[in-house]
Symmetry: C2
Subunit: 174 residues, 2 copies
């Protein structure tokens, strides 16, 4: 990749991060391009869809969560680790409005595919908890993630989101 292309890409992600933090994930792509000092065409060349841009913006969050999953797996028993990780995931979703939606709608075939990484990281925790007999065996990995995403999407306050997650966790236990 040419250096100017890389620089523009970086600028776009930085501008998108700022604008989205301010206006939410439905912010104008035009404005993002302008803020980045770049033409609209450049934006669309680097990020063909809005989702691909959002995914890039949320990359650092997602990777933080992946790391957290590994940490928790080491310092906590399976059941606790899963619960703590879901809570962290929820926290991030509530902070960055749009993260949950982005992860939900993410296509599974894109290249950096952060959403898939997140699923894998969470999946390990779930698998471990299931082997340890802490969570129901008839529940798939994807179930648990979707439940967390749904809670993040529908809850109208952080307090409620946490309560709903705790309810869901009770339901997940054996």
């Amino acid at each position: 990749m040419r250096v100017d292309a890389q620089r523009n890409r970086d600028r776009l992600v930085a501008a998108a991060t700022a604008v989205i933090a301010e206006q939410g994930p439905a912010a104008s792509l035009n404005e993002i391009a302008q803020q980045a000092g770049v033409g609209a065409g450049t934006l669309y060349r680097h990020f063909p869809t809005r989702e691909s841009l959002l995914l890039e913006v949320f990359t650092s969050r997602i990777e933080t969560l992946c790391v957290r999953a590994r940490e928790l797996a080491q310092i906590r028993p399976p059941g606790d680790a899963l619960a703590a990780w879901l809570e962290a995931f929820l926290q991030h979703c509530l902070t960055d409005r749009g993260l949950a939606e982005t992860v939900m709608k993410a296509p599974s075939g894109s290249d950096p595919d952060c959403a898939t990484k997140l699923r894998t990281a969470g999946g390990r925790l779930v698998a471990r908890a299931r082997e340890a007999g802490t969570v129901r065996a008839d529940v798939e990995v994807e179930d648990i993630l979707q439940l967390a995403i749904g809670i993040a999407l529908a809850a109208d306050s952080p307090a409620r989101a946490e309560r709903l997650l705790s309810v869901a966790l009770v339901g997940l236990r054996t």
Copy 2:
């Protein structure tokens, strides 16, 4: 209200119902107005926001659910009635893409305020179940509705949605 105004309103709702069934809840309002044989201004006079139109479109669904809540309250024990009603709610959300979102975002102050009716109807079932000691006492009415809405929003298939609801119901029991 003048009779022509009423007629136009009816036409708009009919057209919106058809177009939304075909294109989803993000359908063009222009097209809905055109389909109704009415100017765009007329649409916006009757329904200032997209949400208000969607709410009207989903009115019959919502009222069906309110009726169902009353029926279930009579023929089933409290816990079962609530579970069955939530399942019915989920069914409707999965059928009419956009119902869940509409109910979620509905302003609580509008006049026919179907969303509030739905909350009241569901609320009675929840209250009854709580009095009977079937559901946890520390869970509010709104919690349960938001949980169901979240599941409807995030689930990627009807089968998964039902499984998630069953998990949630376990968590809600005392």
